[in-house]
Symmetry: C2
Subunit: 576 residues, 2 copies
């Protein structure tokens, strides 16, 4: 017979928007109360958003965050949620420095306050820079049940805070998280959470953030796992959701305090009376995880939508070339923002083929988005004539790409749309793009998608449309024709690059797999091809630095989490 109902508020906070996030907390706490929950758990740093990066170092921001926690405690009471135990994540600051903190609010008071113990400092995480680690564990007793708390990375550590809670004794562990989505990570959360629940000897409640924030996207996927490893609840991915779960907890009457596994356990009693008996939920709420392609597509849609929205834009503008990259970007943008918020521009030059113009127009027809044509021949001609660029190769090719970038920026200045860059990860890796040309934009939705994967996503999205009886958004011709930048007559990508299947294989090994020259050779690639690809990658670092950010779907995306020096005399390709 369950005697505690817990709600996990899988919300989409915005970094820095403390006032907006506070309203979000009040709304979702009211919903939890409406669902007759006794406890509601918000994600890690839910009041400030995550990652706050160097905002953590501004003491005025930390003070605003601390003040917001105190204010929220009072406003929850005003909203009738005083008897609800509310776990909220925020930024704290004390004499040691900034803290990744969570507080428990009850009857207008902060009844527990704890700092993250294990600070990840790899990939997208720089937490040794942003925070100081905590040393205490605050356990509260509600309705006679002892509830402990750990924050995010704390559950990834053997012999860490969960071990300490297990030794000290608790009936339930809540874990606020801000765990970014990562592709091709097998589902390691569930077995990990199950292992920690066993270690704690109590169910573990894993509440994760959802939504896009800069180049990260959080997938939610909040879960509750029993001490025996049973999955007791799972929220859907990529949407805000209140997951409500009934728990049948044996009140252990734990009372041990003091040091466990190097951490100081403190206890506080809020109430010893069992909760009034109530009608349990009819079902265990377990959502099915998405398929791999659906998961990636959702991540890209949510990442784009939230970047646009959180930065105060309402619409996006970019070039429709007739090629696969702009077609997939357009389909993502329409899924994210609706057709009326998407503005396509065809910018033909004298080298643009008839089929490109037709494919671009067909894409716009299928999507129902805005579309216009702005030829660039006159603009290109002035440069070519004044600077004598005819026949100069690179200089003449780049001018076409740059004229287009400027044209998009002028339309953005006139009409207020966010410009999107449509480049993919393969191009970015090997530097096959024109800086200030096709690299122009405030956001690059498919920046972390290899070319081969762009095609796969296009086919998958079209097939989904067909399943639903809708028009497939992407013209078949854009998927099947050989890719070309069309910057000179008859140009094909394969003039400058190895075949994409081969190229993506090498890049996957070199970038995602961190494999060196010797490994690639052992894998059977031709020495000349390895050499050629690795040199292209090593030399393109400068371009990548100036490329706009885009949603990460792997942790080996280019950007903050892959920092190589711009000047780099050493080349992996020299190490054979």
């Amino acid at each position: 017979m369950p005697q505690l109902r817990i709600a996990l508020a899988q919300i989409n906070s915005t970094v820095g928007d403390i006032a907006g996030n506070t309203r979000l907390h009040l709304d979702w706490a009211r919903q939890a109360l409406g669902a007759r929950a006794h406890v509601v758990v918000f994600p890690e740093m839910s009041l400030t958003g995550y990652p706050v990066e160097d905002l953590s170092l501004r003491s005025t921001f930390a003070q605003a965050s601390r003040q917001a926690v105190d204010d929220l405690a009072g406003r929850l009471v005003e909203a009738g949620c005083g008897d609800l135990l509310v776990y909220v994540g925020y930024l704290d600051l004390d004499e040691a420095g900034p803290r990744d903190a969570a507080a428990a609010l009850y009857r207008g008071e902060v009844v527990a306050r704890q700092f993250k113990h294990h600070l990840p400092n790899y990939g997208v995480f720089d937490e040794h820079r942003w925070f100081k680690a905590g040393q205490t564990l605050d356990v509260v007793r509600l309705h006679g049940l002892d509830i402990g708390m750990v924050i995010c990375e704390d559950i990834w550590q053997d012999g860490g805070p969960v071990t300490a809670l297990g030794e000290a004794g608790v009936d339930l562990v809540v874990a606020p998280n801000a765990s970014p989505y990562e592709r091709s990570k097998d589902d390691i959360r569930l077995p990990l959470v199950a292992r920690r629940a066993a270690e704690a000897g109590a169910p573990l409640v894993y509440a994760n953030l959802v939504g896009g924030q800069d180049d990260l996207v959080f997938d939610g996927d909040s879960i509750v796992v029993g001490a025996n490893g049973d999955l007791l609840g799972r929220a859907p991915q990529f949407v805000e959701h209140l997951l409500v779960v009934d728990l049948d907890l044996p009140a252990g009457g734990h009372s041990a305090e003091g040091e466990f596994a190097g951490l100081k356990v403190r206890r506080r009693v809020l109430g010893t009376e069992p909760a009034a008996p109530y009608e349990p939920l009819a079902e265990v709420p377990i959502s099915e995880p998405l398929s791999d392609e659906a998961e990636v597509w959702s991540a890209l849609v949510v990442g784009l939508r939230d970047y646009v929205r959180k930065n105060g834009f309402r619409s996006v503008l970019f070039g429709f070339s007739g090629g696969i990259d702009s077609a997939v970007t357009a389909a993502l943008a329409v899924d994210a923002l609706g057709p009326d918020a998407v503005y396509g521009v065809s910018m033909p030059s004298k080298y643009s083929s008839a089929h490109s113009r037709e494919d671009a127009a067909e894409l716009a027809r299928r999507l129902g988005c805005h579309f216009r044509t702005e030829p660039v021949e006159d603009m290109v001609e002035v440069y070519v004539n004044q600077l004598n660029l005819a026949g100069t190769g690179l200089a003449e090719e780049n001018i076409q790409a740059r004229v287009r970038g400027m044209l998009l920026m002028a339309l953005s200045n006139l009409e207020g749309h966010l410009v999107l860059a449509t480049g993919n990860k393969t191009e970015l890796a090997v530097g096959y793009s024109t800086i200030y040309g096709d690299a122009v934009g405030g956001f690059a939705p498919i920046k972390d998608v290899f070319k081969r994967h762009v095609w796969e996503l296009a086919r998958w999205r079209n097939a989904e449309a067909e399943k639903r009886g809708e028009t497939p958004p992407i013209p078949e011709n854009s998927i099947t024709k050989p890719p070309s930048a069309e910057l000179r007559p008859g140009q094909l990508d394969t003039d400058s690059l190895p075949d994409y299947a081969l190229l993506d294989d090498i890049l996957d090994d070199y970038i995602e797999g961190d494999r060196g020259y010797g490994d690639l050779l052992a894998a059977g690639f031709e020495p000349e091809t390895i050499d050629r690809v690795l040199r292209m990658v090593d030399r393109a670092e400068y371009k990548r630095r100036q490329y706009p950010i885009g949603t990460k779907i792997t942790f080996k995306a280019f950007g903050r989490d892959r920092r190589l020096p711009i000047t780099n005399g050493w080349r992996e390709g020299d190490q054979r």
Copy 2:
């Protein structure tokens, strides 16, 4: 009577160029031998360069670095330097992870190998990401003298490795460093090193890197300080230099091993015979530090020169507008690379004043650099006509700046020069620049110099020229006229911005001083002005992300060491 001669090789390594850095080590070891030194100390990570950033995470790079140390030991013997004790910095890798390491080489062998203990993780440093900390201290006995070693940040820690060496007993401490230049840092190195020498009860040898690496510049300023705090030698700033110092060391015959201050001390005897008596140096070699303006100017010159050189360029190209920013950039570029490597382009539009064109031409005449005029009216006109930009304000203004950026990039593609962006820190802070326009370039030399300081540097540089009987490089008119972007008739910077003196005061407090709204109010600024400036700074984060890198002269420069989220609902200006 001295019995040990020590050389500090203040060299300019290049990140990643292990082969080139190895040659540098052999050259300077030979010089040290020629100066009859017994020991030569190279800076931190001298073989790999510093900072290697995420290259530390590539195991093939770490293996190449380890191999280079072994090879160097052998090549030193071949070069006749076998009896010289050579301290060299490099990247190591063991089962725990990558290490910021230093090795002592002697007679073809690695006789000591130690990892940095304290890993800084603030400002420009992310060492918790790049390295694992060491736990051992290797002391070697040469000519009966016990020599211990600590690496860079290790000397900034109370109760750290220096304390351990002091407790265990040594006669000398060598400290390889990669300590970047920072303006307005009082000279804290000397008193710190003196304090640590006292703690060690032995002289401390502080060998620092010199030269520009990406956006950092190392000033050298290597020093030797006696146990009593006496300055025994100081190298000049911003140049490669071999500092040779004679030391009179009492052989203490220390032998304690085991754990001290939590670190494990190991000892190895290379030789117990005192060095043969020799003729001591006639003088104590102590260079005078530079004045503040000379120091900043040197940092900017060296940072620019090394960025150009280390990236394989030979010349630079940028717009000569007639204004102060491009004039100071041009003077820096000529000091860094010589007049023949500097290409100025005047790009007048219909709003450009006659005096601007004249001032630009006069600048080129004074510097003796290349100069050409490319009017942009025709290019601008095509955009304005096709897109109906006339009278649209921002869109029309930006097109002019962007046409210029594209023109510079086309010339760069044709002739191979590196394009420089000439913007200053004030513009960058408040977002007073056009992305893909005047922000175009691979390097921004005065990116970290506030506008007021740009004028000061111009006056200082002109005065220096006059002292030497040379033509002042910067036209007086460029210094005295009111600044204008000249993107519309009669435009002045003060139309959009507060007066620069006031603006720079607020920016200095907000950015360098990390002061909040309340502090600025207390400092006497008008609430409306604070509000206006802080909002401009908070909103310009996106532009700053896409701005090229430039030499840092403060640790509050924009770039890697100041990471704010792009989306930031919270505003300091809202906190009043």
